[in-house]
């Protein structure tokens, strides 16, 4: 067993990293914040997959590499495997984690902002709060998406990764392999 730190170290570092980029540096440019956060994840995934595959033979095909991400790689990071893997056999893979750890720790506070509008515009304000909440949650997903993309790129597979949280607390990562 290697060295460990408390989970709160990683959680608070991630929360702070996202807030630094999304709320402080690029508050008005969410696409830029997203790109930076994804890029930090990419570096981490690239390095981790380098370390975790050091003593392994090369993967024969894409599916083998994806299975490695679902099992070994995910277990190293989250102490559990991906719960469900689907593919259309044409380069798209959907990895579902039924209870994605990094989302269960982020409670998106739905209480209305005290400075926000109230009364007659309540509906509008609720909608915008929900919208904001969705945007905040999605900011936190660029990091794990980046990790998966970095890990696969290190295995020689270039791809695009996105996340779907319409089924919380489950989270699905959609990997589209570039041909």
């Amino acid at each position: 067993m290697g060295r460990e730190v408390s989970e709160s170290c990683v959680d608070s570092l991630l929360i702070e990293m996202v807030s630094t980029y999304a709320d402080r540096f690029y508050a008005s440019k969410p696409e830029l914040a997203a790109r930076r956060i994804e890029s930090i994840g990419y570096q981490v995934g690239h390095q981790l997959s380098e370390r975790y595959t050091m003593d392994r033979p090369r993967f024969g095909d894409h599916l083998e590499a994806i299975k490695f991400i679902c099992k070994d790689f995910w277990s190293e990071i989250f102490k559990k495997q991906i719960d469900n893997l689907k593919t259309n056999h044409r380069g798209t893979f959907v990895l579902q984690d039924n209870r994605f750890r990094w989302l269960s720790h982020i409670s998106v506070d739905p209480s209305p902002d005290s400075s926000g509008p109230s009364g007659a515009s309540q509906d509008a304000s609720e909608a915008s709060v929900e919208n904001k909440a969705a945007q905040a949650a999605s900011m936190h997903l660029y990091f794990p998406c980046g990790i998966i993309r970095g890990a696969l790129t290190n295995l020689g597979i270039s791809c695009a990764v996105s996340a779907d949280i319409s089924n919380l607390p489950a989270c699905s990562f959609v990997i589209r392999i570039k041909v």
Binding site: V5, I40, Q47
Partner: protein, 186 residues
């Protein structure tokens, strides 16, 4: 009689949810690298790392107080010991040593010989002046501010710069008296 503060964070760390330190170390490293790319100025990177640490400290103090059962420390000396032995241990899994007290008992050093933040880190020459671990600085300052102690935290020794340990000097600037009762939200 208030509960006596634990002298070690071993038990708390052992029972905490823990993760692979590699993930933590590499994530921190990737953040530092990205900040260097985005901000270019090393001083600005130091400042941002400190700010991030401060925000983290402000949040972590609640978890610290809840899990450690530490009630009120009688003085700054005891506070420093608790940070070193309980605080560092329960989050990072390592303990610090408290040393170099000044005569007034308001300045001391936290010395870390083992620091998970720097595993696999080597600084290139272009990063002269970077306080790689500056986040720790901010965490200590932020957490202490939440328990009414205003401090100044500076690096004295840094192994990434060739020193034999990490030494953080913590200087107590002032202790803000707490106000009771807390005001209800109005």
């Amino acid at each position: 009689m208030p509960a006596v503060a634990p002298r070690s964070g071993d038990a708390i760390f052992a029972s905490a949810e823990r993760v692979n330190a590699e993930l933590f170390t590499l994530t921190y490293g990737a953040i530092v690298r990205q900040l260097i790319t985005d901000l270019e100025e090393v001083d600005e990177v130091n400042k941002q790392l400190d700010q991030m640490g401060y925000n983290i400290g402000v949040r972590l103090i609640d978890e610290f107080l809840a899990k450690s059962n530490v009630s009120r420390c009688v003085d700054f000396k005891e506070t420093a010991e608790v940070i070193a032995k309980v605080g560092f241990k329960m989050f990072l899994g390592v303990t610090a040593t408290v040393t170099n007290w000044d005569a007034e008992g308001t300045t001391c050093s936290l010395v870390l010989e083992d620091n998970p933040l720097v595993d696999f880190v080597e600084l290139p020459d272009t990063c002269q002046g970077l306080h790689y671990c500056n986040v720790l600085n901010g965490v200590v300052r932020g957490a202490l501010e939440m328990v009414s102690m205003k401090t100044e935290v500076t690096w004295i020794r840094d192994m990434l710069r060739g020193d034999d340990a990490y030494e953080l000097q913590v200087k107590l600037l002032k202790q803000i008296p707490e106000e009771y009762p807390y005001k209800d939200d109005e």
